[in-house]
Symmetry: none
Subunit: 135 residues, 2 copies
Amino acid sequence: MAFRNENYVKTLELGQAIKRRREELGLSLRDVADVTGVSASTLSRIENGTGKPDADNIARLTGWLDMPMDRIMNKQSSSSNEVEPVIYYPHEATPEIVEAHLRADKNLSPETANALSELFRVAYKQFSGTAKKRK
Amino acid sequence: MAFRNENYVKTLELGQAIKRRREELGLSLRDVADVTGVSASTLSRIENGTGKPDADNIARLTGWLDMPMDRIMNKQSSSSNEVEPVIYYPHEATPEIVEAHLRADKNLSPETANALSELFRVAYKQFSGTAKKRK
DNA sequence: ACTAACTATCCCATCCATGAAACAGTGTAC
DNA sequence: GTACACTGTTTCATGGATGGGATAGTTAGT
């Protein structure tokens, strides 16, 4: 029987999540690399599921995704209490995400991008109290 | 200046937690090694804070501890309001300045610039009381 | 005394994740 | 056309995490 520990990192899911988010924002690998501190080459490998990223890079990327780390870990807790599956909502248009998208738009001047970001930020702040859902 | 990402693994806290739990249970390193699948030598290094364990071992150990991984990660989520923007534009986003920038943007048609200026002007007037500036 | 069975730590060869740079492909401007 | 600035991928040398085995230390039994 030895031991049977099925805990491991679901690298592919992380890579898919990164790629999805990155393409949604219209960012290049190097854009994400600059923001997260993970090199573009490593990012490419992660998105394609080659190898396993180290803990620091996983922390950086899940931090960028605003995603709980356990979402990409296959964890078997020792005390057998069922952990409620984390449902991940990747599409909330926060001001930061909108801002990243705007800044990445090569057709917008930095000033325009900043203005639009500011606009969205103001509107978001106004409505976020009433439009809150998530559950 | 390019980026400031403070996400990393708090290895020492993990090691301390492991050691505490292990000694509470009166287990040896090899006992824990057999149960978790992490070798005794690696376990010793982790408890002593030498080096950084890889993601799989972190998953195994946090799984054994029944501890959420994020507890040992210093995560800075992208939607946190304290996150410093990648590029910082210090100017005040008043309607006049926004309009000037929009008109100066050669990638925008005059009509689009007008529309966006007007939109921002209305929003600014409406929300300027509640809008908070980045700092 | 001497084993024998433990313990944790150290040594070391192997493996592999990493990032910089080179690469090949795609537009885009001039 | 010819550069130029992008894109994602791949090559490559290096650093470091790993686990098996060696080591030193401790305890218990004989």
